[in-house]
Symmetry: C2
Subunit: 444 residues, 2 copies
C-alpha cells in the first residue's frame, strides 16, 4: 500500500494534507489531492515531491472511479451527503475509506459488504465527532477497568474565539460552518437525568443553558445537543442514568441567541417576500404586532421581555438589526438573512486565533466512593488559516491514515473510533501536536 | 346527465347525500354512494329509490374507473391527497369533479386538460374553504360595483361548541379533524398590515391573538392563519394594504393553548421513547429542567410564567396532565399523546350542539367616506351527528352538484367558487337552510 487519495482541498483539509505529506517520504507514500478547484488542490500540496493536486468533479463517475482505483486509502472531505457515492466505489474497488462526518444510515448499511471485503470504513474521525469519541472512550474504558461504575457522563464542545481575539459583545466569531451555527438545535434536545428522559424543545433551548467551569478559563454556557442519547450503546453506557452532550458558548451568548430565536430570525423554512427591498429595520418591524413602544427597537425589547438598553438588546443593536440598511438578498428566509448579516459581523480577522474547548465530565462509583473527574482540552489556533478547528479535524484523520497505511488497524467494516486499537495511538500521537486532555478531580 | 357519484360516506357526507337524494326524484337523478365500508354507504342512502350504496377500494384502479365511467358528475370526499387519482380518471373519462378540499398544485396542473374537455373541476366548495370564498366575494364584488375601494379585508372562521353545550373550562370540543386542531398554525403566519408584510412565528401565534366582537354573541379570540396572503390575487385584492385570515376561539382558549405549545406538547416531529410506560405526570416532568418548585405542577407553572392556580393552569389540570395515569400509546410524539388525551376530554356528547361562526370585515372608501362593514354567519347544529359543520360543508357541495347537473355552470377548468355565476345561486339557496350572513355597519 502506498497511494493515498484525499478528496476535497477546502478549509478543513490543510492540517490533514500537511500531516500526510510530512510522513510521506519516510513511508514512501504518494498523496493525490483532488478538488473541483485544481489550483486549490495544488496549492495545498505546495510542490511536495510525494504529492500532486488534481481536478475532480465528484459527480463524474468515471473520473472519480479512476482516481479511487489507483488509491489504497481514500479520505473523503466532501459534504456529508456525497460520501455515499465514494463509499460505493470503495466497496466495488476494494479501498479503505475515512471521513470526519457523521456516519449516515446509508453508510452503516454498507457495513457487511465492507467487512466481507476486509475493508476499513471509518467515519466520525475528526474533532466533534471524532476526538470527543476517542477521549471519552479512553476514560470510560479506564474507569470500567478499575472496577468503577459510571453514573453520569456529560460531554461539551465549543468552537470559540480565543480571549485575546475577542473584540465583540457576542464573544463569538465563526470558526466553522455558519449555516450550522444559525440553524443549531432546531428540533428537540433529548437527554437523560436521574434515569429519566428529558426534552427541551428548540424554543426553550437557549434559555435553559447550564454554567460550566473550564479550569483556567472560567465559566462558560452550555446548551444541550439533540444527539445526547445517540451514543449510549456504542459507548457501552446503555444503563447510565445521566447522559448529556452539549455545545459550549461564552457567557451572555445564549440569552442573546434566545432573543433571535424568539423574534423568529433563525427560521429557515419560508421566504420573506421581496426581502431585497426591505431593510433590517423593516424586517424587525414585520415581526412585531401588538407590542407597546415608540420605536421598533422598543417593541422588539418588549417582545423579548428585555429593557431597551439591556445587554441582550445591545448585542442585537451591534448586529445592525435596527439599522435602515437594505438586506439585498431576494426572497431569503429569516435564517439566511441572519446568516449573511453574521457572516460579516462574526468574520475572523486574519490574525484572529480561534479556540476549541472540549470537556468531559465523568461521575462514577469506585470501591463505595463517589468520584467525579473532569477531562478538559483547550487548544488555540495560530491565526485565521491555521485554526485549532482545522488542526483538530485534520490531525486525527491524518494519524488514522498512517495507522491504516502501516497495517496497524485490524477492525474492518463501518465504524466510529471507539475502540482502544484506534483511540490509544491516535490520542498518544496528538500529544506531539499539543493536543492533550488535562484531568481534574472534582469534589462530589 | 343523470348519474351522480359520491365517493366517501363519512361524517361530512350526510348533508350532501341528503340534499342530493331529496332533489333526485324531481330531476330523475340516480345517486351512487361509494365507500370502503359498503354498509355505511347503504345506511346513508337509507333505501332511497334513486340511490344505492356500494363498495369501493379507491386504490383499485379498475373498480374506481368503472364507477366513474358510469357517472356524469363525481364528488370526491376522500382525504385530500387521494383526489388527484380520481381527478386523472375524470380527465380521461370526461367527467365533472367537485371537492371540498384545498386545490393542490397537482390539481391546478390539470386545468388546461379540464378546460379543453369542457369539464368543470371545482374545489374548495365546502365551508372553509368554500362558503368563506363565496360570501366574501359577493360582498367584495358588491363594494367594487358601488365604486368603493377596499382598504382592509379580514375574515375569521371558527368551528366551536354552542354556548348551551359548553360545559368545560376550555369552552371547546372537537367538531372537526382533531389532528388538524392539535397541529394548527405550525409554521409562520403571514399577513399584511398597512401595506407591510407581518410575520408571526408559531411560538408566538397563540399569544398574539386579537379580540373580535361577534354581534349577539360577544367577544371571541382570533389567531392568524398561515394562508392570509394566498387569496389576494384570486379575490382581486392584489393591492389591498390590509389582509388577514384567522381562526375563532372562545375567550381564554389561546392563552391556554399557548401554554401547551410552550411546554412542547404540540410537537409531532419526534417519538417519546417508551411513552406507553410513562404517565402524563412523568411526561410533564420530562419537559421541566431547572425551574423552581416543589412539584411538577409548580415547575410547569414557572415554565409557562403562570401562578399555579391561574385559569391557564386550571385548564391544564382539567385535562389530566398532572395525573399519574399511564399514557398507553407506545413511541408516540407529544402531539399524538395530546391528541389522544383531548379526544377523550373534548368529545361531543350525543346531544351536544356545535356552532360555526364566520365573520368578514370589510373596510373601504366610498365617495370620500370611510366605511366598515361586518358580515357575520352564526349557525348551530342540531346534535352531535347533524352538526352545523357537516351541513355547511355538505350543502354548498350539494347545491353546486345541482347547478352542474342542470347545466347552469359554464365556467370550465380547475376553479374555486369566487365567480358570481357560482356564489349568487349557492348563497341564495343556502338561505332556505338557515344559512344567512347578517351585515352590521361599524363606526370607523
Amino acid at each position: 500500500m502506498n497511494n493515498i487519495l484525499i478528496i476535497g482541498a477546502g478549509r478543513s483539509s490543510t492540517a490533514l494534507i500537511n500531516y500526510v505529506l510530512q510522513k510521506a517520504k519516510e513511508n514512501q507514500w504518494f498523496v493525490t489531492v483532488a478538488d473541483a478547484d485544481p489550483q486549490l488542490a495544488e496549492e495545498k500540496v505546495d510542490g511536495h515531491p510525494n504529492g500532486r493536486g488534481t481536478w475532480l468533479d465528484v459527480m463524474k463517475v468515471n473520473d472519480r472511479r479512476e482516481l479511487i482505483e489507483r488509491a489504497d486509502v481514500v479520505v473523503s472531505l466532501l459534504p456529508a451527503h456525497l460520501h455515499i457515492e465514494v463509499a460505493q466505489d470503495c466497496i466495488r474497488l476494494k479501498k479503505h475509506l475515512i471521513t470526519a462526518s457523521y456516519v449516515s444510515k446509508e453508510m452503516y448499511r454498507l457495513g457487511d459488504k465492507a467487512r466481507e471485503r476486509e475493508l476499513i470504513f471509518m467515519g466520525e474521525m475528526g474533532l466533534d465527532p471524532g476526538i470527543d469519541h476517542m477521549s471519552a472512550m479512553q476514560k470510560i474504558d479506564d474507569i470500567k477497568e478499575m472496577g468503577g461504575k459510571l453514573t453520569a457522563f456529560r460531554s461539551y464542545t465549543g468552537g470559540l474565539i480565543a480571549p485575546e481575539s475577542d473584540d465583540n459583545p457576542w464573544h463569538y466569531k465563526f470558526t466553522w460552518n455558519p449555516r450550522n451555527v444559525v440553524l443549531a438545535g432546531q428540533g428537540t434536545a433529548q437527554y437523560l437525568e436521574n434515569g429519566k428522559y428529558k426534552y427541551i424543545p428548540y424554543r426553550r433551548l437557549f434559555t435553559k443553558y447550564r454554567l460550566v467551569n473550564i479550569p483556567g478559563m472560567g465559566e462558560y454556557e452550555v446548551y444541550a445537543n439533540r444527539d445526547s442519547l445517540l451514543y449510549r450503546e456504542v459507548y457501552g453506557l446503555s444503563d447510565i442514568p445521566n447522559i448529556l452532550r452539549g455545545t459550549i458558548r461564552s457567557r451572555g451568548f445564549c440569552d442573546a441567541w434566545a432573543a433571535l430565536v424568539k423574534i423568529g430570525l433563525t427560521n429557515g423554512s419560508y421566504p420573506i417576500l421581496d426581502s431585497d427591498k426591505l431593510t433590517y429595520h423593516s424586517l424587525m418591524e414585520a415581526f412585531t404586532s401588538n407590542e407597546q413602544g415608540n420605536s421598533v427597537k422598543e417593541k422588539i425589547a418588549q417582545l423579548i421581555r428585555q429593557e431597551p438598553d439591556s445587554e441582550v438588546m445591545q448585542k442585537l443593536e451591534w448586529l445592525g438589526l435596527f439599522r435602515k440598511k437594505k438586506i439585498k438578498i431576494p426572497n431569503a428566509s429569516p435564517a439566511l438573512i441572519l446568516e449573511n448579516l453574521l457572516l460579516d459581523k462574526w468574520k475572523l480577522k486574519k490574525s484572529d486565533k480561534d479556540m476549541i474547548i472540549m470537556q468531559h465530565e465523568f461521575e462514577y462509583k469506585l470501591k463505595g466512593k463517589k468520584k467525579c473527574l473532569h477531562s478538559t482540552l483547550v487548544l488555540k489556533g495560530a491565526d485565521s488559516v491555521d485554526t485549532a478547528m482545522s488542526r483538530l479535524v485534520g490531525l486525527p484523520l491524518g494519524i488514522f491514515v498512517r495507522l491504516v497505511m502501516q497495517g496497524k488497524i485490524t477492525t474492518t467494516g463501518v465504524n466510529i473510533p471507539v475502540m482502544k486499537q484506534v483511540y490509544d495511538p491516535v490520542l498518544e500521537e496528538l500529544k506531539d501536536y499539543g493536543v492533550e486532555f488535562k484531568e481534574t478531580e472534582v469534589e462530589v
